[in-house]
Subunit: 408 residues, 2 copies
């Protein structure tokens, strides 16, 4: 019994001090525990975030040299992974890309747009000198315009949860090192996909190319090639708002119908059904053309030159008919530029992005009031992106071609 | 005797009254006689003036279609005559040309200039819409720029004896129905022939095409084709005054020497000795071209496009290499206009003549101080005009080609 009492006393002595401590500092201890649990939870969350998830990507196999791009020139891969959190600034290796000077932004891509200029980037092009216009690298993800959600950001103007449009990569998640090519989306009463088109780069292209480059005046005669595309459909509507006479050309009767009955063009024609574009233009423009919004180049440009009026203006936006040729078609009627004192002004919209706020002020009321309409051709799934993109060069799209990567 | 006295009295009576009248009104009679003599003299002078004198003319035989013009496409005739006084307004037949509403001006032509644009007028060209740019009529006198003396004028701003430059006909005397194409010459301390060149249309063309169309900036890289011609030699000097780096191309080593040693171009080359214009331009412009003053078109334009810099400007003045071809050469590198956001602006100097006073204020001190020099290639005699004019298209002229019709 004595032995038992001694053991019990020892046992009590063993717990006595901790117990006293517990009683004395109980409150503090409970707090410390809470902090510890909190830290553990955050650590687990961080680990989950830092865990690499699969990142589907569209890759250019090799340069497409002077040929129509095929779906097989691109491939969709599922082997890449990405961490859904930027590394802590102290963790990062001190290389050029992840240097703390680079304001990394991590995006979840929602919508990607298919644009004709992307064909040019499938070749090795030099001298374009804007970040969004650098040639693709064979074996790497292609880039383009898109709408995305910010998952993490080291840029002070962007935070997790923000929606943006701008230059991103054709993949599910993108680590952007040049956040200056991203524009924050403030107005979400408009369909988000519109920021790949009417409220994004093509919208700005139409706006700058028409209002800034063409110096339009009420009553002038306006011709638009590739008029049913992402840019052309808007230029035509801008020209109608300005009080111009507007004719568009497109590559199918369905598109011609769209131009006349949806976008309000005065006239439209299917260039594939015209034997002589010069004759076609003379039919629609007996008085000649004041403004030509150039999207196609080649034979169309040659025919337009013959039909331009004195002091006409040509807004050089693109020459899609030439992108896939072994050698561009020679344009022979350039003397008309001098005879008629015409201004041909090539432009690229990134030079004009400082006008974006002014553009939004103009566009938003028109869209909300239904005074400017927009037609999109939406494809679901990044895996269907290559077909959508190469389809552009066969005129398969019906309105602005968009690829949905994720709806939210 | 009585009979004799009667006869004498009758005879005295016959002269008495006139004699008395003569004595009484002698002074008035002498005045009337003076007036009569004066009127007779003026009448004789008017008759001399109204007498038709021979008027040598240069005639276009027939349209020159897509070929190098030959001297035999033009002919000099001596059969035409002209009255060296305008008909009195009341005398004139009420037709369109001599209607009193038309402010006729009669000119004695002194100097005529040979200009590349005249080749275009040897074909049936439409749509140029400036009086000086209407096609020639086969069988009729050709027109062009010249310096002339006013012999008679129904225009309130011009009087006999005035010197003018502007659009006139290739003949000794011209009846001008559009005096708005004539500019009065106020500064005669400069050689009169300069008003066909440095102080006339080519000077204005160089001035407008460089300063107004090209928006030049100090330090920019400037290339000028046909640089030893009437316009090119001035553009190069303007560009040097602006602090640009200037290279010109020409068609002979003598002209290249002129560009470098007389006009102060930084570099110049003989395009006929270059196998590859693209290579030549890369040699002279390793950094590319900011401003191209386009005088020749075709292959040169194609090579220039490849070498233009971002936001470059091309002043479309002429395309002399294309004027005589069966079909213009196709220009294939137009996509560069878009890649590099280039502005190609065709212009024609008559659109800018309102700037002539500003131009004179700029040019006169530079000429007087020898800061701008000018080289002319002067041919004596209207009969040598056709050879001088067609020689222009073979590059025979050495500087500004002028034809002297009369020295005063």
């Amino acid at each position: 019994m004595k032995v038992l009492l001694v053991k019990l006393r020892k046992a009590v002595a063993l717990v006595e001090r901790p117990l006293l401590l517990y009683i004395r500092f109980g409150r503090s201890l409970r707090q410390a525990d809470h902090v510890k649990r909190y830290c553990l939870e955050r650590e687990r969350e961080r680990e989950r975030a830092m865990a690499e998830v699969s990142n589907k990507q569209v890759i250019l196999r090799d340069y497409v040299v002077k040929a129509l791009p095929k779906e097989s020139d691109l491939c969709v891969i599922n082997t890449a992974t990405i961490k859904l959190k930027l590394p802590a600034e102290t963790d990062q290796p001190a290389d050029a890309v992840t240097s703390s000077k680079v304001q990394l932004v991590l995006l979840k891509n929602l919508y990607l747009s298919c644009d004709p200029y992307q064909r040019l980037l499938m070749e090795s092009v030099q001298g374009l000198s804007v970040p969004s216009m650098s040639s693709y690298t064979p074996g790497s993800t292609i880039h383009g315009y898109g709408v995305a959600k910010v998952l993490d950001s080291r840029n002070p103007d962007l935070k997790a949860g923000d929606l943006v449009w701008g230059t991103t990569n054709w993949e599910e998640y993108s680590l952007i090192t040049t956040p200056q090519v991203l524009f924050k989306i403030h107005h979400t009463d408009i369909p988000l996909s519109y920021y790949t088109g009417i409220l994004g780069m093509p919208g700005m292209t139409a706006y700058v190319g028409f209002y800034e480059i063409c110096s339009p005046k009420k009553g002038e005669y306006v011709f638009i090639s590739a008029a049913a595309g992402a840019v052309g459909q808007l230029v035509g509507q801008f020209a109608k708002l300005m009080g111009c006479y507007v004719v568009g050309s497109a590559g199918s009767n369905e598109k011609v119908d769209l131009l006349k009955n949806k976008f309000g063009f005065d006239e439209a024609f299917n260039y594939k059904e015209e034997n002589d574009l010069n004759v076609a233009l003379k039919r629609y423009f007996p008085e000649g053309i004041d403004i030509y919004f150039e999207n196609v180049g080649g034979k169309t440009l040659d025919a337009v030159l013959l039909n331009m009026r004195l002091h006409g203006r040509i807004s050089g936006c693109g020459m899609i008919s030439q992108y896939n040729l072994d050698k561009p078609e020679g344009v022979i009627n350039l003397m008309q530029l001098i005879y008629k004192r015409i201004r041909f002004h090539g432009f690229s919209v990134p030079d004009h992005y400082h006008l974006y706020p002014k553009f939004l002020d103009f566009m938003l009321p028109h869209i909300r009031q239904g005074k400017i309409v927009y037609v999109e051709d939406i494809v679901e799934g990044l895996e269907n992106g290559p077909a959508a993109l190469v389809g552009l060069f066969k005129g398969r799209n019906f309105g602005r071609q968009v690829v949905v990567v994720s709806h939210d």
